[in-house]
């Protein structure tokens, strides 16, 4: 069986009803912890968007809010990264993963108190960490800016979640372990290990010199590859077959995709330091692993594409599917781009430029964040037992998010390429290069405004559904009137 759990049971209408009741009981058991994670994730998304806008404007207008130490660019930028990476992305990922775990273990969620405690601690840790960065207490290590006291709170919270996941997994109903669970299992295990190893080697007992940089970027890349990516793939592997009502195309491709990701992604970190003061063999190993990433990526893309084949028309109808498939397509694009950026000839140009920032947003937003939006659109109505009140708000969210991120990635990619080509030519004065990037940075600020407006629409939708406003609907809220669902 390769479907998460087929929606039309072959066993007949009675069994189908029993399945539906089972699922409703599982959803009800998830309500409090998952909504806590979702709600706080969305709040952090708004906070992170504000920091993003401030940082973007400061890059073109250095005098903007310049007289407050707390709001200087060098503090607002890491505040943005940490608010969206740990506040929004991780919190959303945990919420989605909890719900998927309960659904896929096929038992109602138990030990909810552990998760509620974890949610409270997690938010406390992020709040303390972001405040510390603004106050000037950052570690100044990219992706690891949170000072020890905040990092420790996050670690404890995460330990709670990992313990809960193991307990849930042990109490699962016997049978097939679906591919989404492999990814969640991997992510729940990799992240706390990674986070504790790296914090101890960089912050508690820092190692020497440029070994720090190697470990820094081993973390910086693994947090994407072994934490955010697996959760987003777990969600995609669940949502696409579930919404289409058909099994995933190939079980064997999903096995190949999972193990090749586990094997290669964790070796990519060194490509952030090409040409830097680190051993040449390490750079080469990371370049090879980065190119090898094409295997899991193409495998997974084929698997998703073949599952979608014949059903693309549903993208016009289903919000959850449209966000999810948008994310899945961007996963292929961003990963292929990432492999190419590890090649020395291209890296020479794109390293140290806005091109890399464009790539990062293509990954964390166009792929990861869009996938999380899709999952939240699917899951929330099942927890609240109320449909999304406004199709217009969802539509607005989708178009603002998709055009916003497209504008951001295109402007940073082109601006970054120009910057990189000019940096490569020593005859072009540095300040000329700075001047040439400014129009592209203005475009990026506008893209941020689009994204932030989209986030406001999403947050409003979320508040309205929690309050159960609007009229009671019989079926899900769709983009189009037609009912072409299986």
């Amino acid at each position: 069986m390769t479907s998460p759990s087929s929606s039309s049971s072959p066993k007949g209408p009675k069994a189908a009803l029993a399945d539906a009741l089972d699922r409703a009981a599982i959803d009800a058991s998830c309500r409090l912890p998952v909504l806590l994670f979702f709600g706080s994730a969305i709040a952090w998304l708004l906070v992170g968007s504000v920091f993003a806008l401030l940082a973007a404007i400061k890059l073109t207008t250095p005098e903007f809010l310049a007289d407050h130490a707390w709001l200087t660019f060098g503090r607002v930028r890491p505040a943005h990264l940490n608010a969206v990476a740990y506040g929004w992305s991780s919190t959303a990922a945990i919420g989605v993963a909890i719900w998927l775990m309960a659904r896929l273990c096929r038992v109602p969620l138990r030990h909810a108190r552990i998760l509620v405690a974890a949610a409270v601690l997690w938010n406390l840790g992020v709040a303390i960490g972001v405040t510390a960065i603004l106050a000037g207490a950052s570690n100044a290590i990219e992706w690891l800016e949170f000072p020890t006291y905040a990092a420790f709170i996050l670690f404890v919270s995460y330990a709670f979640i990992a313990v809960w996941a193991v307990l849930m997994f042990r109490e699962r109903r016997p049978g097939h372990v679906y591919v989404s669970q492999w990814y969640i299992f991997g992510a729940f295990f990799w992240f706390p290990w990674l986070y504790s190893v790296v914090n101890s080697m960089l912050v508690f007992w820092p190692v020497q010199g440029s070994v720090q940089a190697i470990i820094n970027w081993w973390f910086g890349h693994n947090v994407l590859g072994l934490w955010f990516t697996p959760i987003a793939l777990a969600s995609t592997y669940y949502m696409i077959p579930k919404i289409l009502g058909k099994p995933i195309h190939s079980y064997y491709l999903s096995i190949l995709g999972f193990w090749s990701l586990a094997l290669f992604y964790s070796w990519n970190g060194g490509h952030h330091l090409l040409g830097g003061p680190i051993p040449a063999w390490l750079q080469s190993a990371s370049i090879v692993a980065s190119v090898m990433m094409l295997i899991p990526v193409i495998t997974t893309a084929i698997n998703f594409h073949m599952t979608m084949r014949g059903s693309f028309a549903l993208l016009r109808t289903s919000p959850a599917l449209r966000f999810t498939v948008f994310g899945a397509m961007c996963y292929t694009v961003v990963s292929a781009q990432g492999s190419s950026m590890a090649l020395r000839s291209l890296n020479k140009l794109t390293h140290f430029t806005h091109y890399t920032i464009g790539h990062a947003h293509l990954g964390m937003y166009a792929f990861f964040t869009m996938t999380m939006f899709g999952a939240m659109y699917y899951i929330t109505p099942r927890l609240v037992r109320w449909e999304w009140p406004s199709a217009f708000l969802i539509k607005a969210h989708f178009w603002l998010a998709s055009t916003g991120i497209l504008l951001m990635v295109v402007s940073l990619t082109l601006g970054g390429l120009i910057q990189g080509i000019e940096l490569e030519n020593p005859k072009v004065p540095f300040l000329t290069i700075v001047a040439h990037t400014i129009p592209w940075l203005h475009a990026r600020s506008w893209s941020g405004a689009l994204l932030t407006t989209g986030h406001l629409a999403f947050a409003l939708s979320f508040v309205l559904i929690l309050l159960r406003t609007g009229k009671q609907r019989e079926g899900p809220t769709l983009f189009t009137k037609e009912r072409s669902f299986p």
Partner: protein
């Protein structure tokens, strides 16, 4: 794949392998590089940082300078860093042994600072630049760090370390702009950045 154990062992093994390869081996290979005493001059290289510069290193971290400035000079085959005059040789692991945290950086919104103390050695220039970067570097997008300076009324004689500001930046008559201890430390750190000394693995000729 129905067995939790297979999954667990695989997840553990792939991760441990990568940790050994990308963390443990580099650490064993050059995690304990020591400084080098030049046979010709008897100088310890890299030169140890002064206490004030060390304090400036902390200010550099707190203000997030690393998000726009790298501190690594790549070799000739990998970029134009040397041709731009950002260094006289590529930087190597030994250059960074005293740095915690590291400031290798990933972005060049501003220029590389590996050798800024050598390229721009004037204390006055650095203070003017930090106070309002555009005053000495027109077209720069660097934010001003006026919050590292204090404006105060001149009592008796003007302070010896008061900034010599003119035009837009000049304080009102009877007032002066003086650097805070943080600003002084930051400038001391910037001036200490000079990785032009020769090392056996990175000769300057």
């Amino acid at each position: 794949m129905n067995r939790g154990l297979t999954l667990f062992v695989g997840i553990l093994a792939t991760f441990t392998l990568a940790w050994a390869g990308l963390v443990l081996i580099p650490y064993l290979q050059f995690g304990r590089v020591t400084d080098y005493v030049s046979e010709e001059t008897g100088q310890t290289l890299p030169p140890p940082m002064s206490g004030l510069a060390q304090r400036g290193h902390e200010v550099y971290a707190a203000e997030g300078c690393v998000y726009c400035h790298s501190q690594q000079v790549r070799g000739e085959s990998q970029g134009s860093d040397l041709a731009r005059g950002w260094g006289v040789r590529r930087t190597v692991a030994r250059d960074y042994i005293g740095e915690r945290p590291h400031f290798l950086g990933t972005m060049r919104t501003g220029p590389d600072l590996s050798n800024i103390g050598r390229r721009q050695s004037s204390v006055e220039w650095h203070h003017k630049h930090l106070y309002r970067p555009q005053s000495v570097s027109p077209g720069s997008v660097m934010p001003p760090f006026r919050f590292l300076y204090s404006l105060r009324k001149i009592v008796g004689e003007p302070s010896a370390d008061a900034l010599k500001l003119d035009g837009l930046d000049a304080p009102p008559p009877g007032w002066e702009v003086v650097p805070t201890p943080d600003a002084k430390a930051l400038v001391a750190y910037l001036l200490s950045l000079d990785r032009s000394y020769p090392l056996p693995e990175a000769p300057t000729e």
